[in-house]
């Protein structure tokens, strides 16, 4: 599915804990061997580390700064959308951080939404729903989107037996508006394959395995790497890229900047190969410093590729993520 382009990103902000920890220390703390092969594959030197309960403070900080940058206050926000991936302070969906943010920001004219299951692609899901809601409703002019992810304690190396990534902590926020003049959302394409719904899950902590709630080892994010390797991630991204280009009348050959998550160097190379995109030193620097911070990667990388005038007015930016084979998304922006 794709969104018509009439809404843009007015402002973004990211908030990361000040502490970083080397990947070597993280692996050692979790009792995982760090080989040279793994080091090269991950391309991550350190991760940002906060308290497990820091998510709401980081989200609030990012949201406040994004609103300030947009010249808005809480009461200007009509919709708050959560694209967090990891567990929150209380159990979702009974509770959602978006409602707490609404209170803290005094966004009394807003209502809240949040989306589950998309992994990093929840960025695209949130963007798509918010953009369409703004486009479809003349009373809904401004949306605040946010994600706040802090790793489960002792669960930064995903997975210990075959490391796919290392998780850092952080939060991000975006202000969407019908009045934005840059970073206009030309289109978002999304597709899901339910066969891969369980590639990325936390086995415990909900109704499944309730009889084993003393098994703290089940309350760990896991990626089924065998299943993931069978997912046609590159082909799906290519298909979505072609679809968003066709629907928006754009040429992918003129896209100036490509933005992908910081899952690993190997994953970045796979994503770039889809469009023969050059490596971005700014994105590599983010990955090396912070590791993978779920959908916040995409916001941070968007900021980095357009920082210091690196992005000219009218440049096209493509943001892509494969969502572990389950939900893939591609968004095309015009700076």
């Amino acid at each position: 599915m794709t969104a018509a382009g009439s809404v843009g990103i007015l402002a973004t902000a990211c908030s990361f804990p000040t502490e970083t920890r080397s990947v070597a220390d993280v692996f050692a703390a979790e009792g995982v061997e760090l080989s040279d092969v793994t080091t090269a594959r991950l391309g991550i030197d350190s991760v940002t580390v906060g308290d497990a309960e820091a998510g709401s403070e980081l989200a609030l900080d990012a949201a406040r700064r994004a609103l300030a940058d947009a010249g808005l206050v809480g009461k200007d926000v009509h919709l708050i959308v959560d694209y967090t991936v990891l567990p929150q302070h209380f159990l979702v969906p009974v509770w959602n951080l978006g409602n707490k943010l609404q209170h803290e920001l005094e966004a009394t004219n807003a209502f809240t939404l949040g989306f589950s299951g998309g992994g990093t692609s929840s960025f695209h899901v949130a963007l798509r729903f918010a953009a369409d809601m703004i486009a479809a409703n003349d009373r809904l002019r401004t949306a605040l989107l946010f994600g706040a992810d802090t790793a489960i304690p002792g669960n930064r190396v995903i997975n210990p037996d075959d490391p796919v990534t290392v998780l850092g902590d952080g939060a991000s926020a975006m202000v969407l508006s019908a009045e934005a003049e840059r970073d206009v959302i030309l289109g978002t394409e999304l597709i899901s394959d339910g066969a891969f719904h369980d590639v990325c899950t936390i086995p415990g902590g909900a109704l499944a395995h309730l009889g084993q709630d003393d098994r703290a080892d089940l309350y760990r994010l896991r990626i089924d790497t065998a299943k993931l390797s069978a997912a046609p991630t590159a082909a799906t991204l290519e298909r979505l890229g072609d679809a968003v280009a066709a629907r928006t009348g754009s040429e992918l050959s003129v896209v100036k900047h490509f933005v992908f998550p910081n899952l690993s160097a190997a994953d970045d190379a796979m994503c770039r190969a889809v469009w023969d995109a050059a490596a971005s030193p700014a994105i590599e620097a983010n990955r090396r410093l912070r590791g993978h911070v779920q959908a916040t990667d995409l916001v941070a990388n968007l900021e980095s590729v357009s920082a210091d005038g690196a992005c000219a007015e009218g440049d096209l930016l493509l943001v892509g993520s494969h969502g572990m084979g389950f939900t893939a998304g591609v968004t095309l922006l015009r700076h």
Binding site: L86, E104, A136, I202, L221
Partner: protein, 338 residues
């Protein structure tokens, strides 16, 4: 709404096993204190029995309801462009990392759909999700058919939400189609009061107390009922009025034109308070589901609408207001032309 979107079909699934309200109270820790106005939670709630899922999973309840809705719609699942879950209590796996939408897509064979789940709104997630899905459908030429679903299975020993309700297990689904001339969605409104975010919640695994004799209490609905009484109750009818009036204004209808109200089946006293507070004729509020199944979270909206159609209460051309509140705290109102 811009452009006509109608409910092509809707269905619910209730697991066959039932438990009487006495059986629920017999095994769950339910206080016996009298409620305000001398009400007795056990005696006066008006719920006779509930359905319990037993070995069935929460996502399995969703799948069964979704299959029923697809069957009633007489469509091929590959026609579905968008699937969105709106379950509001604990699922098979932890959200927001996981969503049952993938299971529903896979089991239906809805191969071309994009799927996700909304995780806000509590029982009002029906309205928040409907609002979001209608906007996507209205904004896109390629989204013509959408499936919304929910599947709720209360954790063990957590069917009684004292002093509010007793909850039933089950699933529901509705299929929206652009241009469908029946059950046309005229307006959807949702509102959230964020300061009440922690009045009702489930703590989650990190808050587990290994010494608690109730093994799964970390998954139970947990309420601060002093705040519920002091902060939710005083704004409840105001917020209902706010979303209902906004929906009526958007739909261009007057209160006396509403033929029927679909309202949650929490308790007899809650239904009475809604009718009295909102000055609505109780005969217009569909309450028959309260006795046989109690409260089924966000599925109340679907279940009671389906039943009100099936027993002839709601007929073609009627104007129907579906409205509820939910943890978060959230309120929602939807107006349909049958």
């Amino acid at each position: 709404m811009d452009g006509q979107i109608g409910i092509l079909a809707e269905a619910y699934y209730l697991p066959p096993t039932r438990a009487s309200i006495d059986e629920v109270f017999g095994v769950e820790d339910v206080p016996t204190d009298a409620l305000a106005g001398g009400l007795d939670f056990r005696r006066d709630i008006g719920i006779e029995s509930i359905h319990v899922a037993g070995e069935e999973t929460a996502s399995g309840l969703s799948v069964k309801a979704a299959k029923l809705a697809v069957e009633r719609a007489a469509i091929d699942p590959s026609e579905i462009d968008l699937i969105v879950g709106f379950t509001s209590i604990a699922e098979d796996f932890v959200a927001p990392t996981w969503s049952a939408a993938g299971v529903v897509q896979h089991e239906l064979g809805a191969s071309r759909a994009f799927v996700t789940s909304n995780n806000t709104g509590g029982c009002a997630s029906y309205h928040a999700t409907l609002s979001a899905v209608c906007a996507v459908m209205a904004s896109s030429d390629s989204i013509n058919t959408a499936l919304l679903f929910a599947g709720d299975k209360a954790p063990p020993l957590n069917h009684a939400y004292y002093p509010v309700t007793v909850v039933c297990d089950g699933g529901s689904a509705l299929i929206l189609r652009k241009g469908h001339p029946r059950r046309v969605i005229l307006a959807v409104e949702a509102a959230t009061v964020g300061k009440l975010h922690d009045v009702l919640y489930a703590p989650g695994y990190p808050h587990r107390d290994p010494t608690d004799p109730c093994a799964n209490r970390w998954l139970h609905m947990t309420g601060d009922y002093q705040r519920f009484n002091e902060e939710v109750i005083p704004v409840n009818l105001f917020m209902f009025r706010k979303v209902m009036r906004a929906a009526m204004k958007r739909a261009g209808v007057q209160p006396d034109e509403i033929d029927h109200y679909i309202y949650p089946t929490f308790s007899s006293w809650d239904q009475r308070a809604f009718c009295e507070g909102m000055k609505i004729d109780p005969d217009k509020v569909y309450t028959r589901g309260l006795g046989p199944h109690g409260h089924l979270q966000e599925t109340d909206m679907v279940l009671n609408h389906v039943d009100a159609e099936a027993d002839g209460t709601i007929g073609d051309g009627d104007l129907v207001m579906l409205t509820t509140n939910g943890a978060g705290f959230a309120w929602g109102a939807t107006i349909l032309r049958q």
